[in-house]
Amino acid sequence: MSSEAQAVTNTVADVPLSRRFGWIWWVALLASGALVLLLGYTLISVAILGVGVWGVNIPFVWGFDLINYAWWIGIANGASLFAAILVLRRHDLRTAVNRFAEGVAFFAVICAGIFPIVHLGRPWLFYWVFPYPATFQVWPQFRSTLTWDFWAISTHAIVTSLLWYVGLIPDLATLRDRARTRAGKRLYGVFALGWRGSVRDWAYHQRAYRLVAILVLPLILIMQSTVAFEFAVTLVPDWHETRQPLHFVATGLAQGLSIVLLVAVLLRWGLRLGRYIDDEDVDLLGRLVLASALVSGYLYLDEIASALLAEPVPQEATFNRITGDYAGLYWTSIVYSILIPQLLWLKAARRSTVAGIFVGISIGVGVWFDRFSIIVGGLQTDYLPSVWRTYAPTLPETGLFLGTLGLFAALLLLFVRFLPVVSMFETRHDEHEEASS
């Protein structure tokens, strides 16, 4: 190993292996831990008291539960699609951002999975959507979006966790070799699955990693479309559109990329990984975020164009969403997910930590408002004028959402603490290539 490669391994591996981690990490973990407690409280309250504690009511049978589900799934999809493409293209950027793109995707799937389960009303019977030989002798309703959710989330969780774990194996072996305590060595050793670093190991590893990455590509498009179909298959005028999957895939990709950008600049700043996630990497990521925001913008225009061409009822529904009671949601979404990212045209903004954090959060917020606008705004003028009313989330719903944010943050914090956040083996590989050329 060259001295340079040694240096990479040191900086990245030292983080999970050191005993101290600074007070900022502890404060952040405590804060997110408090939110996880809030999550537990809201989950228990909804399990005991039922979904009546939420603000949902006919026609708004879907509120924060589906908004946040669709939002988290978008992050998961965007991040894992990005990670998979980098692996398959063997792009240089993968060394810097792949590992935490995979981590972000996996943790977002966990957060997403909570919502469809609690929104069942009797969450302890969630396994009823799984086709098993039940004593009630009927199969789940395969035309129901509930069963689609089940398959979508479980497949997604398996594939994203595999992508993340397979990528980790060689680095777990490095951690095993460098761990200070014997217990640490053995723990990392078990998860490294007996990695020896032989040519055969590498060949198998490359094959497995790329295989899982290929699996991700169709999976992501199908999963995001599944979420979109949950709306599109209903007869609600604003939802019943064939363009819905495209809208969800594109805005979800923008959102996933923006969260990857956010986490990248935060880690670079927090763990001083500037050398491994360099300016070029962040710059490229910024361009990707900008491009995906432009695609989202195009789809917003497409929405208006297809509404103009549509029949009166869906046309009215779409324009009602844009100009009606919930117009604020729609326009907030436009400002945050389309207009603010235009900052990234400036090179200085692409390379600045503050701008990265700002735009990353901004697109996340924007897409959240977009989901809110679609789910709530789409329902405001249902066919029955007698049920025209408004929806507002109650505290338990807000708590649930904040709780999943806390869970996501806590998982990320533990991840940066105990596992290498930048792929050490990919970085070493890159540096060897550079040295030999």
Partner: protein
């Protein structure tokens, strides 16, 4: 440096993976058997009752008709439990002053219903209608078993949804002529039905297995 793992570790790891797989299969098989066993559904388990009422005596030996006590079974969803007046129509003459009948007498005096413990309780989301069944040829004993032989009232069927569907998917073999609905020990089922009734139920099974037939 000492080796972290012995050469046997790999074998051990593989064995652990296989065992975990087998464990999952075994857990599934156990859950399958458990979910179908009678004890899971409280089959054959009597409930503690305020009065040691004996169906074998009243219905079996004395031959009192089911409808004498469960008087609304042919008209509404609930078969109906007898009021203390019904009991006292006999027990004001027989077993007067028996200590086991004390709850019946106090119920009669105070006008408070006796708190019987339910043996056949369906979940709240299942809408079972006694009259709909009884008037269409489903006999009491088809679901409740030989109550006329029970010292303590027990469930003889699981009353699971699958058990309901066994009949709803193909009702004809379980039906009787209307005059035999309250008979006990009637054999055989499915015989003596008029041909048009037979045809009707063969076509009706699709409607009888709709979700909203029972879950409204």
């Amino acid at each position: 440096m000492a080796q972290l793992f012995t050469p046997a570790a790999t074998t051990l790891f593989r064995v652990a993976i296989v065992l975990m797989g087998l464990g999952v299969v075994a857990a599934g098989a156990m859950a399958y058997v458990w979910a179908r066993s009678g004890s899971t559904w409280n089959v054959g388990k009597p409930a503690p009752q305020p009065v040691p009422f004996r169906h074998d005596l009243h219905s079996g030996s004395l031959g009192i008709d089911c409808r004498y006590c469960h008087s609304t079974v042919e008209r509404v969803a609930d078969a109906g439990m007898p009021s203390a007046q019904t009991c006292m129509s006999c027990h004001s003459q027989v077993w007067v002053g028996a200590s086991v009948l004390e709850p019946v007498r106090s119920s009669f005096d105070l006008g408070q219903p006796i708190t019987w413990a339910s043996v056949h309780r369906l979940p709240d989301y299942a809408y079972f209608h006694h009259a709909a069944h009884v008037t269409k040829g489903v006999a009491c004993e088809t679901c409740h078993g030989r109550v006329d032989q029970m010292t303590k009232t027990i469930k003889t069927q699981t009353m699971s949804m699958g058990w309901c569907l066994d009949c709803h998917r193909d009702p004809v073999p379980h039906l009787r002529p209307r005059e035999a609905v309250f008979a006990t020990g009637y054999e055989p089922h499915g015989q003596g039905l008029p041909e048009d009734v037979r045809m009707f139920y063969q076509e009706a099974s699709r409607r009888l297995t709709s979700c909203n037939t029972c879950h409204r």
